[in-house]
Amino acid sequence: MHKQEFLTQLRKELSGLPQNEIEERIAFYGEMIDDRVDEGLSEENAVAEIGSVSDIAAQIISEIPLSKIAKEKIKLKRRLKAWEVVLLAVGSPIWFSLLAAAFAVVFSVYVSLWAVVVSLWACFASFAACVLGGAAGGVVMLFSGNTPAGLAMLAAGVVCAGVSIFVFYGCKAATKGMVLLTKKMALWTKKCFVKKEDGE
């Protein structure tokens, strides 16, 4: 392979990168080949020593941070063709409402799940209030002479205390689950974006 052929191929393989990055790399490899030729190597041998274009391109791309590549992609994406812009605009009542509806469904499911958690906590709070009420009422009744009713209230308070402990752990688990789910949803959303980037 000749130098020019090598550099043209390399330029093609690197085409997704920022322009100045490509130019600098091309100049660098061009100089590397020229210096080998100065040493008495033939152009073909000099190119062969540098290595295969695809290997070099792969290494260069792997070294460049994803953010730079993504930026370049976004730049490219902005240069939409006229008919694509028209289609996007004309279709917007359809795709936008569908997207909004899908988002609303996911969001409402998410909110209602949190609502369940909140009501569980409310349940816990009411049981805890019953404990306090039962204890206070029972003591008052005991002192006012109504022993059976006072004992019954105290017993009810103790039962409520037992139930509230169970409910508390249930609430904690439910909240934990929701936090986990939130994290998973965030990850899933990110993955969707990355997949889109890869697919381009």
């Binding site: 100049a27 660098f28 100089e31 020229d34 210096d35 290595g51």
Partner: protein
């Protein structure tokens, strides 16, 4: 070799290759060959990193009817080499300690 360690070594090796006189890409690779095999793309990355870090400056000069990039070490680059020498004195003494322990256990 540990990647972080190798990275640091490569940086200092490239600096050492341009320490005495300004040098260019292919010559750096040739000078380092007996010690470390270095690919063009790796060298490019190292040179960029060193340039960004102010360890070297780049200038273009004509050579045989074409332009060639030359790399010149800065004071910061020379300082990096000195730091490297100091670090390795410490590492050597640790190495002696580690190998001594090994001998006693054996």
């Amino acid at each position: 070799m540990d990647i972080q360690l190798k990275r640091g070594l490569l940086d200092v090796c490239v600096l050492a290759a341009i320490k005495d006189e300004d040098s260019y890409g292919y010559k750096i690779i040739k000078d380092m060959k007996p010690y470390m095999e270095l690919s063009e793309s790796t060298l490019y990355t190292i040179l960029k990193r060193l340039e960004t870090g102010g360890m070297l400056t780049v200038h273009t000069a004509e050579h045989g009817g074409r332009l060639r990039k030359y790399y010149h070490i800065t004071d910061a680059g020379l300082g990096r080499i000195r730091d490297f020498q100091e670090e390795w004195k410490e590492i050597l003494s640790i190495y002696r300690f580690v190998t001594k322990e090994g001998a006693e256990n054996a």
